[in-house]
Symmetry: D2
């Protein structure tokens, strides 16, 4: 509310109007608590269908860090750790939530935000070959994000390769889908919800950054975590009025709203990316989703900051800085127009 146009994040607004409408419409119906209501049940049915996973267990949690901490904590045995990219959200930006739960994050160097099946296999092999392995943290699962924190995407082949390694090395595979709508809608994406449900042991469908007020849906292989309801409660992650999550996800999975939300953001991002390239700006990396990482010089940086909100990402060298521009389901075409004007002006 600074007067500037903002591309600072994808959680800057409230909820999609269809969600607001459904929450209001159902407001005075009385339901049972804790996700046992009919809206939550309806959302579960629709999500199972969208994932082609009729047996999957579906749980609604509140936020991303919480979901990662609860699922990872419940999946790991006490002596196990989770393999993740060093750029992963669980590695860097969750204030030690995984460690608070008692587990080590075993980091691999990221390759444009991703980790490879080869690196995971080598890590597991090294562990098992180490004579001191019984004095070390055993790798128990793999965490990836789709899209990654750098906006990149795993291909279906890469995902299958990771699944193969996980199966061979007795690791579970978990996918953080905080921005999943923007991955599903990317033009060169070939990984569907059904692929994720088939290939991972658990993944979550992000709501907070993809049209909801808040909320993340965990899709869990049936029977994998007994008493997961109580585990969620014990970790303070069980919403009393579970219906609020149920109505939101029921709306998102009605009439393909979740995919439509993704597409809007991708269209806006694609326009920006195309113009940046046409204007000769340097992209830090070429990611196909709703986050754009551009390199600016100091003059551009200062000038852009007067009119546009964005995220500082990292300092590359004395005069070069990476910034992030994020679009979302709520990005207005007029704001994109203004941004492009600025970018042209600064060139």
């Amino acid at each position: 509310m600074s007067g500037k146009i903002s591309f600072a994040s994808d959680y800057a607004e409230g909820a999609h109007p269809a969600i607001i409408a459904n929450l209001e419409r159902t407001n005075f119906l009385k339901t049972a608590g804790y996700g046992t209501d009919e809206f939550s049940e309806s959302a579960r049915r629709k999500i199972r269908a969208a994932c082609a996973a009729p047996d999957a267990e579906i749980y609604f949690l509140v936020g991303g860090t919480q979901t990662n901490a609860v699922v990872i904590g419940a999946m790991l045995k006490s002596y196990e750790g989770v393999i993740a990219a060093d750029s992963g959200h669980v590695s860097l930006h969750e204030a030690g939530a995984i460690e608070l739960g008692g587990h080590k994050v075993l980091t691999l160097p990221n390759r444009a935000g991703k980790i490879t099946a080869e690196d995971v296999a080598a890590f597991a092999d090294n562990f098992h070959a180490d004579g001191n392995r019984d004095h070390m943290v055993a790798p128990g699962m793999v965490y990836i994000s789709q899209p990654t924190e750098y906006g990149t995407l795993y291909t279906l082949d890469e995902l299958k390769a990771l699944r193969g390694v996980c199966t061979n090395k007795n690791l579970r595979l978990y996918v953080d889908g905080a921005r999943l709508a923007y991955g599903l809608a990317a033009s060169d994406n070939d990984v569907t919800l059904a692929d994720l449900a088939e290939l991972s042991d658990a993944f979550y469908i992000g709501g907070t950054k993809c049209g909801a007020y808040f909320g993340e849906t965990v899709v869990l292989r049936k029977g994998l975590i007994p008493h997961f309801f109580t585990i969620i409660k014990q970790r303070g992650a069980l919403l009393a009025k579970g219906r609020i999550l149920g109505v939101q996800f029921d709306t998102l999975f009605t009439d393909d709203l979740y995919l439509k939300i993704g597409r809007r953001a991708i269209e806006a991002a694609s326009r920006i990316r195309a113009e940046l390239k046409a204007l000769g700006y340097e992209l830090f990396l070429d990611a196909p989703t709703n986050q754009i990482f551009v390199v600016l010089n100091d003059a551009q940086l200062a000038a852009l900051a007067e009119r546009v909100e964005f995220s500082f990402w990292e300092k590359l060298s004395a005069d070069r800085t990476v910034i992030r521009l994020a679009t979302s389901w709520a990005t207005a075409d007029a704001d994109v127009d203004k941004l492009l004007d600025e970018l042209r002006r600064l060139r």
Copy 2:
């Protein structure tokens, strides 16, 4: 949505219409995340004013169990436990969230849901007199709920006495206000928000059961928990779109809405209670807030269950059962009328 009228809980509906309106009105304004937005700031100002506590720190969390676990975990040193009534929410119905955080709940027998300053003092004295105290869990704080899980209220004198004991015994005092609106509005209540802010080290103002979609506001003595923001994040309790909490509590603390919400529930409960007494029903205990505990015989129980949803509480004897009827800000007068008709019919 069973066709029956429902007095099963005080979190059966969505949010107060004023909250819905304000969320919709502000929906497309872009704000920063994590509670640093202007709606959250506005709510903080209003709550500080309502509490006559200009220096208090104000944090918005999502749910009650979460709030208890985060505040208690942050307040206690590793070797300390929390004193609570054996009927307290933290003692019984949080699936071990306090213990998951590493702390013992040191239970005292409840007296109509409350604990006394005398019992707390005796517990602390016994601990300090015990030659084995260095091998025992030290009492570090006191947890009470206002209203209690039985709907009863601490008087101002009782609260002052607890504060005195806590000061003398070097204990912190924390108040769970999940249903605080219904306590503030009770006719014989003499404990204000300002009293709670003055006498406790932290308390929370319940939103989930008092008109919000969800949310609890922690009012914390300034400086008591350094880096509490990061602690909230680490425990998965930081809402990315903090504005959703900010708008809700800003609304609840505008034009005394929080108190009005409380009053509606109390009026409904008072009508029910008066009629129960007039009809000669046995009240399990005489609590002044929005929860009514009635003793029914088996015939009454079966008959009422056909028309009304309520909570089973406990079996008193072969033929006598305690049930709970709960009213809320959303209880319709027509539903109270129907309930009273039923109660008359069963007498």
Copy 3:
């Protein structure tokens, strides 16, 4: 080293001379670490034989609180708690070690230090019948001590009944044998090591209070806790020079030394107990092992304290105090003589 004779505890001296001799004899032999040495292997074989449990897993840990915390933490699922007597060591005198590991101790009222199969069954039944059970800590195991903290013993029938309840209610059964030698040697004991191995899921054979410098041996049902070695390491409970534990327990289980150690303490305790009864002293309870709980008046208390070290236990009333006298494998006959003289004098 006060000049007084001491019956203050059963860990007041060093180790049995046979242990000292064997440690010295083997001192310069080089072995592998962490309990993989031949002394530890030999001790394991002898203990399996003594327990008639050829498949049992045997682990050597350092101390009692540590052993309880490691075994209980490894046996419980995250959402489970451990049932124990309110007088149990884990309930009272381990400074919250179980809770630090994330688990609630679910206390039952003790009956002379013991809990009954009926009380355990009722607790489990109440839990499973409670509509809120998914919001509560599930009972996952039962902790008992043999002998108990009050020196009493479970009979074989009582132990079988507990085993039956545990099997029926899907609870694991764990026995703390910190003073097991003194239980095995008691005249009216009918529970053998083989019974413990058969009826419990895990138990430990106490060394610290029964002739060793330190050390406790866990006897664990095969396969019950995968990767228990790493769990022990992770909890800081793995002794680098595991041989020191191995040599000690190898000695204790050679030529029935463990039983002989128990018998010496029981003989001393029996002499004291018989004389106390003959002199008309009031026993607080009549326990058959190495701890004697006597009620003294203030004059007796003061007079005895001038010549004898003992443990204050609890104040019964204005003028009556319970003290504990403990014997051990190292109790000298001459000291018993002196104690009896004092007791006669004060009568």
Copy 4:
């Protein structure tokens, strides 16, 4: 006990004969438990004197991983992590004990086992400059080992530089001295016990690898960790018969035994190192303490393994392997002679 001579580790034997003698001599004296005995008090006085730290708090724990977990867990606030070399014992070989306690190990690349003040300062500066720092694990302390896991030593200047950074960046400094005797005795060492006591907030004096049956002594800045006794108990690290630790460390700090123990190992290591150099073997790094890291080709490796026990360290390339030879206080001159013969033969 394989018939081979062994340089596999420095904890392959029992205890120094002087310790055995003192344990035996004091065996039947009765003392209070938990380190409150007179032997422990005497050891504390001598250690304070050796450290020129009359106010230091002295605690005796059982093992190294345990000591690291207890001290680090007690020193850190819940949202803090510990900076350590990626080769540090806490980073690699404690099975996740630090994470089990809720804390992240923040690794820096090791430089011959050490970390530099510059790297620590840069890490802290980057953290404080990061706009997301409140969502990240805050560095709270620095862990180093002296000698390191590679046998190298911090110089006094390096230690002072680390202290300076820690003071400037509000970090505590903790030194793991598992092999401290061998550092103190190294010919080019210039860091004394008094330096460690002055410059660190806590350090531990290793007993297990330096002549004791077991045991590590924590030297702690006065008042830094309130209720540390109870914290030790809660973590299962309090030895009931604390005297066993007291007698051992009292012995080690009588007549400079601890330094003499260090010197014996250093003399043996120096002989081996000199001969390796003279023979033209490649040292992996040139560390001055009791661990020697040599590069062997496959033929040498196989031949040596037939006569000598050693530790495999890492594979450098197809035909080159690093092994570790460790000496200790108990290394026999005759065994060194035999080893040197072998090394000459294989050249």
